[in-house]
Symmetry: C2
Subunit: 230 residues, 2 copies
Amino acid sequence: MRVKFHKNLDELKERLLVMAGLAEQAVQRSIEAYRTRDLSLCDLVFQSEPAINRFEREVDQMALDLLAMEQPMAVDLRFLYAVLRINADLERVGDQAVNIAARVQEMTAQASAELPVDIPKLANLSSAMVRKSLQSLIEANSEMAHSVLAMDDEVDAMNSDAFHAITELVQRKPDLAPQALNALIIARNLERVGDHATNIAEDVIFWVEGADVRHSSDSRSEKRDVEETS
Amino acid sequence: MRVKFHKNLDELKERLLVMAGLAEQAVQRSIEAYRTRDLSLCDLVFQSEPAINRFEREVDQMALDLLAMEQPMAVDLRFLYAVLRINADLERVGDQAVNIAARVQEMTAQASAELPVDIPKLANLSSAMVRKSLQSLIEANSEMAHSVLAMDDEVDAMNSDAFHAITELVQRKPDLAPQALNALIIARNLERVGDHATNIAEDVIFWVEGADVRHSSDSRSEKRDVEETS
């Protein structure tokens, strides 16, 4: 019974990682579309959304079935709780890819412009956060999960810089406002991807350590929330 | 045993509603700060954040304890699953209030300006969505929850209009870019509040009907996601 249960938990983790792969691929495609202005990549992102949504439902149902039938305790209960939360975050990573692709679609109708925000760099960093948070899940490695939290500060700082640089740009060159505001929104979408990776890392820590680190370092969390918007 | 269990479920629901009240109050204060430029209201929002975070932890812990000790099935299991998800959404509503208050702080250092986005109206609508989604939880009323989903389209449309009106404004009056871009971000924060209310309504429907409506109406959900960014 227990052997079967742990086989089911492994299977659930595998499905969650497939879900993660789909969400991550969607973000990568949306950024590649931004870089190359290739609208077929946007279409691929839109098309992948229903598959990601189906996966979310499947993973949640598997987790609920295990909760109901196996009545797990302690670490296994925390794992299923973490899976439910991580699954929701991954689905929202996929939503951000859709949002970015929609911005890119609009931007391709506008003249190409030099903008003071390095979207591919921001995307690399927030994607690295997602990958690392999932690696910490695979390895049950809470130390690695903690390192994801530190990366979030860097994403927030880049986003804050982008906000001020874009404000300054549109004052100097108002004609570029349509492109600049789209890029601003894309930067914020990527920041939200980083926020989801942070959530995932916190859930891994709760699962592994049994300790809830959400909002535990108050100064840090307050700082993050305030900076997140600037 | 069962009587005690249902007493515990009622208590859990009550705590979740306290959590909701705190999150809602924070949004109202942040918008009142926007309207009146009263920075003491921003401070109240920042100060309320730790309390909201503590409530999130408490509610999650109560739900996990009930899952572990009572091993609920079917409708009760779905209820606890819904509580966990709704709780996370409410905490993020509180985060949006913090984000708005931070924008308002920055705006008070800038000259007051007439902006083409009715932030209080957008706030009223998204707050109404949160209240209605919670009312549907209290009454176990899935019909009411469905009506929240329709309201989200209105919020998204208002936000899309705001994006284009603000782009147009900064092209005409580039000096207003700092204020305008802050208002744009606040509008998007409020749209996220509406998204959280939508998530809550979907969780109520899943609990009451046992049917997962997330992404079920594909055309609607795709439309929503694409419009959400514009």
